[in-house]
């Protein structure tokens, strides 16, 4: 039996449908992220689990027990909020102790537990400080300790790192994962940052317009996006519209160029498809004489330095491609160089083209 279940959740606010149908099951100790752009319904789903919103219909179950009608203060769910939510009138340790006081725990036990948790989040030195005397990262650490102090059935995190600067964000997300693994606590994490979700989750559910687009382990989400939306939202993706020419041989035609794309099983000859290729799988080489067989020809129009890699922007017959090359070799392909770009057939993902798609290559959200 799953530990936490969200069954057929729907939520409407007047005429606006925030959640259309969400079914998610989490095993005990699992870390699942709800990932999606603003307004996709991820925070609403989390708030329904916390009890701050009632679903229009659907149920929330923990260990098979229906909690849908249970008020938030009787759900035993620890929550860390996006906004700094520490009680300003209490010191860090008093904040952590609050939930234990509510539960009427013995003073001695309380003090011991608070000290343990403050130490666990590395804030022993700052235990007596008030929230306004703590940095944003420290405040969120205290908020995490406070949520964990009550030994919640489920830990809920609502974009807890979004107000922090980049370095602290990376440190703290690793810390959250370390604590979650150490304590084995079932966790539901909401974020719009795909890198954050992919780096710390056991599984990721990608949401769009109140629906789950795809749910799976991070590698699956990244390498095998199930829908064009997921492909666009997760990382950067080159999108090539093409026509299947040889379904058995895995060949498609893109603007007169024959490309090998690996898996085209189940597709019909002549069917319109979307070929998705990651920038890091595109191999770029000088080609003064043109594209050649099975490759895309074009001209380097821009360099974007990303550290160890450099992203080349290539104009391929009016279509913009992104290709990541090692920064050490990017200098050999300056702006204006005629190049050919190819990719291993098995690295391309082929999706049915159901409707005309807009932008050619999309930058990841949350950066």
């Amino acid at each position: 039996m799953p530990y936490l279940e969200l069954q057929e959740l729907h939520k409407r606010f007047g005429d606006f449908t925030a959640i259309q149908e969400i079914d998610i099951s989490l095993e005990g100790g699992e870390f699942l992220s709800l990932l999606g752009p603003s307004g996709c319904g991820k925070t609403t789903a989390l708030r329904i689990v916390a009890g701050f919103e009632r679903p229009t219909h659907g149920r929330v179950l923990v260990e098979g027990k229906d909690l849908t009608a249970v008020p938030p203060n009787r759900r035993d769910m620890g929550m860390v909020f996006q906004a700094y939510s520490l009680f300003p009138n209490m010191s860090a340790e008093d904040n952590v102790e609050f939930g234990l006081r509510v539960r009427g725990q013995h003073a001695g036990d309380r003090k011991k537990r608070v000290a343990e948790l403050i130490e666990l989040v590395g804030l022993t030195e700052a235990a007596k400080r008030y929230p306004h005397q703590l940095s944003g990262g420290m405040q969120q650490r205290v908020a995490l300790a406070r949520a964990l102090a009550i030994e919640p059935r489920v830990l809920l995190l609502d974009e807890p790192l979004s107000a922090l600067d980049a370095l602290v964000r990376v440190q703290l997300r690793e810390e959250i994962r370390r604590l979650q693994t150490q304590l084995g606590i079932t966790t539901l994490y909401v974020t719009h940052d795909q890198e954050e979700a992919l780096s710390i989750s056991d599984r990721v559910a990608v949401l769009s317009k109140g629906r789950i687009e795809q749910i799976g382990v991070p590698a699956e989400i990244y390498n095998e996006p199930a829908t064009p939306f997921v492909a666009e939202f997760i990382g950067t993706m080159n999108r090539l519209e093409a026509t299947v020419t040889n379904p058995d041989g895995g060949e498609v035609d893109h603007k007169g160029t024959r490309l090998r794309v690996g898996d085209t099983r189940g597709k019909q000859s002549g069917e319109r498809v979307l070929v998705l290729v990651r920038p890091e799988t595109l191999a770029v080489e000088r080609a003064p004489d043109g594209a050649g067989e099975g490759a895309l020809g074009g001209e380097v129009v821009a360099h974007i330095f990303l550290g160890s890699t450099t992203r080349l922007k290539i104009d391929a017959a009016g279509e913009e491609l992104s290709a990541d090359v090692p920064s050490t070799t990017a200098g050999t392909l300056p702006v204006g160089t005629r190049v050919r770009a190819s990719f291993p057939a098995e690295s391309a993902r082929v999706l049915r083209l159901e409707q005309p798609q807009a932008s050619p290559a999309t930058e990841p959200a949350g950066h």
């Binding site: 916390a50 203060n73 009138n89 406070r146």
Partner: protein
Amino acid sequence: MAQGRVVTGRMPRSGWVWLFIGAAYFLIPLAATAEFSLEEYPGYGLSSYRQILSDPAFRDTLWLSFKLAVATIVVSLALFVPTVYWVHLRLPRLRPAVEFLSVLPFVVPPIVLIVGLLYVFNVNWVPVWFVESSRFLVPGYVVLSFPFMFRSLDASFRAIDVHTLTEAAQSLGASWTRTLFRVILPNVSAGALSGAFLTLALVMGEFTMANVALFTTFPVYINYIGQTQANPAAALTIISFGITWAAMVGILLVGRRPGRGAVQIGGAR
């Protein structure tokens, strides 16, 4: 900013002139009253103060006004803290309406208010012990204190993230009562205290309602002394001023206490 202008902590000469004029406007009448209150024939002395302080009516009326002020503060806080909290939390669209209502006591003169209250309470179900005692004035004073109490509380509630603090407390298992008393109230206490002090000053000085309703409160007593004894009336004015001044100092001290009032929530918001 003016270029090449050195900004120093010094006040310009014109500033001193205005400060002197302002101070003179307030202090000359006060000094004249104080001087008059000390006048004796011949010379100066404290006989007026002695006379006032030894008058049982002074202590009785002061005590009555103080009790009424405390009762008004208690009722106002019990009524307005949960109301303003709920408006901020669940009914933010009603806030302009409540704000409008809070201005009404300024528009409706106290004489109209007390006549209205006398009419409202002149029914059988209101117990006689209530109508015949000075407690009768408390509902009217609560209405008069509404603007001060609402504005002080509203400012404090706007300084905190009511939604997040409430939800954080609830997620930790706190009931509504505990959330209100342990989390919300301590963080709006500066507003509550400021509203309380303003209410204290208001009730200690309210004359019209008490006079019409025939209760001898402190301001009614001041009026009586003013009409019958000139020098003790001036002494009473100075004493009354001292009480109001103490209330104002109280507000200032409360506003300066760390961790209260302008509640600071660290980091970016």
